[in-house]
């Protein structure tokens, strides 16, 4: 279970998060929506410890992860339970595809032999719909959709309990988006993982989410199960999901 309590974060004079409260029960898929620049990514990076919040606490199974020191073994143990799919894939371009997928398995506490790591990498690649012959290619030789799949394979390689997806469908064509959404849904369900996804793609939301939270103005504006999203009665949420230019959310033109 992940609990965010009163998370605040400013960058200089800009108050990005003004008290985010959010609970993600174990094994559920939470999708966070909101316009660009509303602090969705910052929220996610706070949980991972890539950004330290100014105020508030983040409890993962009761442990406050904002207190873990960089590089400490507790923090390494905490991160070992995570998998993350980055927006642009964030594949290491100096390593081949299989070395990317097996990154965690080739070094550190989860180290396996090279042959074993490669075998797991190829199995994970297969799981995301890629054939073993891409294993020895470099990320730059792959299309955007394939890079996303490799990123997904890397995120799940070490069997994480918690998976984060940062805008998983950005930059993909609608069909590839559909494929990735389906993959994410399947993988989260079969692994029983707790998932947190950031997106502004409403197709993604409907495909992936058990629960939805909308962030607006640095706070959680609305949260609830996906089934209630369309009849929430919240003008902000309604404007966002219908993509209407008219409504309480100011749009800059």
């Amino acid at each position: 279970m992940i609990e965010l309590r009163g998370i605040e974060k400013s960058f200089g004079p800009k108050n990005v998060l003004r008290g985010v409260d959010l609970t993600i029960p174990k094994g559920e898929s939470m999708v966070i929506i909101g316009g660009s620049g509303t602090g969705k990514s910052v929220t996610l990076k706070c949980v991972l410890g890539l950004i330290t919040p100014d105020k508030g606490e983040i409890l993962v199974d009761g442990q406050d992860v904002t207190k873990l020191r960089q590089g400490s073994s507790e923090r390494d143990a905490f991160l070992a339970r995570f998998g993350m799919l980055f927006q642009g894939g964030a594949l290491f371009d100096s390593l081949t595809v299989w070395q990317n997928v097996a990154f965690r398995l080739l070094r550190g506490t989860m180290k396996k032999t090279k042959a074993e790591a490669r075998e797991i990498a190829i199995e994970k690649l297969r799981r995301v719909g890629l054939t073993p012959d891409v294993a020895d290619l470099y990320p730059s030789e792959l299309s955007g959709g394939m890079q996303k799949r490799v990123g997904l394979a890397r995120a799940i390689a070490a069997e994480p309990e918690i998976i984060f997806f940062d805008e998983p469908t950005t930059g993909l064509d609608p069909i590839m988006s559909g494929v990735i959404n389906e993959l994410i849904r399947e993988i989260v369900v079969e692994m029983g993982a707790t998932a947190m996804t950031i997106t502004h793609d409403m197709t993604s939301v409907r495909a992936i989410a058990d629960k939805v939270a909308m962030i607006h103005g640095g706070k959680v504006r609305w949260t609830g199960p996906i089934s209630q999203m369309d009849n929430s009665g919240d003008p902000y949420l309604t404007q966002f999901i219908t993509g209407s230019a008219d409504g309480p959310i100011e749009s800059v033109r």
């Binding site: 991972l48 991160l79 980055f86 964030a90 594949l91 290491f92 965690r104 070094r107 550190g108 890397r154």
Partner: protein, 257 residues
């Protein structure tokens, strides 16, 4: 008063920057004593920084050694001191030009590529990805590069010194009519151990600075293509200036009368 405030602000900014670089350096060195280490990254850095820099080091120093011989001959001829060409070429290359030229070439070739690579990794979230994969970027990216540059630069400088002297020798014997045997004896007799020790020590310090600046500016890169460009430029400028400043300080330490 406004004028004074401006001076104060830039001095404070400079001091803050020095502090940040010093902390970065201390953190880098501290990882040398704390596992895990990444020998494969270290090996790759040795190849990149050391082996693949050999051509540029050789080309730079051979031409400089040759030009130096010509200049000293022409200059020396004004007071009939043409005969000192071998000695001055040797001392000039080993004490000053060898380490400084190799240092600057490394700043151009290695600092820029380290800064651009790490900055691109930062911009494309690869550094964040490393962290989420339980890998400390300072250990995985910075330490191997800084350590490799510090260890391999003395070797590059030794190669540069030798090839520079060779350049002088080729011009001296081919163009200026020196006897090959005498040229070499004069060179070897004149050089002292201190010259060589100072040359290689300078190399180590310059290598450390060059790689450190590449990593520091790369890690601090702002977003986007412009961010990568600015980081690379900043790294090369800072490395070059620091190398020249360190050269002065080290020369003062080794040779001050």
């Amino acid at each position: 008063m406004k004028f004074l405030a401006t001076i104060g602000r830039s001095v404070l900014g400079l001091l803050a920057a020095i502090g940040r670089v010093a902390l970065f350096a201390v953190e880098t060195i501290s990882h040398l004593f704390r596992p895990p280490w990444y020998p494969r990254e270290f090996g790759a850095a040795l190849m990149q920084i050391g082996y693949f820099s050999l051509p540029v080091v050789g080309l730079t120093t051979i031409f400089t050694g040759g030009a130096l011989a010509l200049q000293i001959y022409a200059g020396g001829a004004r007071f009939s001191a043409e005969a000192v060409v071998p000695q001055i070429v040797a001392i000039g290359m080993v004490r000053e030009l060898g380490p400084v030229l190799v240092g600057l070439m490394i700043a151009a070739r290695v600092t820029s590529s380290i800064a651009a690579e790490i900055a691109t990794m930062k911009v494309t979230e690869q550094i964040d990805a490393l962290v989420t994969l339980s890998t400390n970027p300072m250990k995985y990216l910075t330490l191997p590069r800084v350590l490799a540059a510090t260890l391999v630069m003395p070797i590059l400088v030794a190669v540069g010194d030798t090839i520079g002297i060779m350049g002088g020798y080729l011009v001296g014997t081919g163009r200026l009519g020196f006897n090959p045997g005498t040229y070499l004896t004069n060179t070897i007799d004149f050089l002292e151990w201190l010259d060589i020790v100072s040359s290689l020590s300078k190399g180590a310090v310059f290598g450390f600075l060059a790689a450190l600046m590449g990593c520091y500016f790369g890690m601090g890169s702002a977003r986007g293509a412009a961010g990568v460009g600015a980081a690379t430029k900043g790294a090369v400028v800072a490395a070059s200036v620091l190398i020249l400043a360190a050269n002065f300080i080290l020369t003062e330490l080794f040779f001050a009368a």
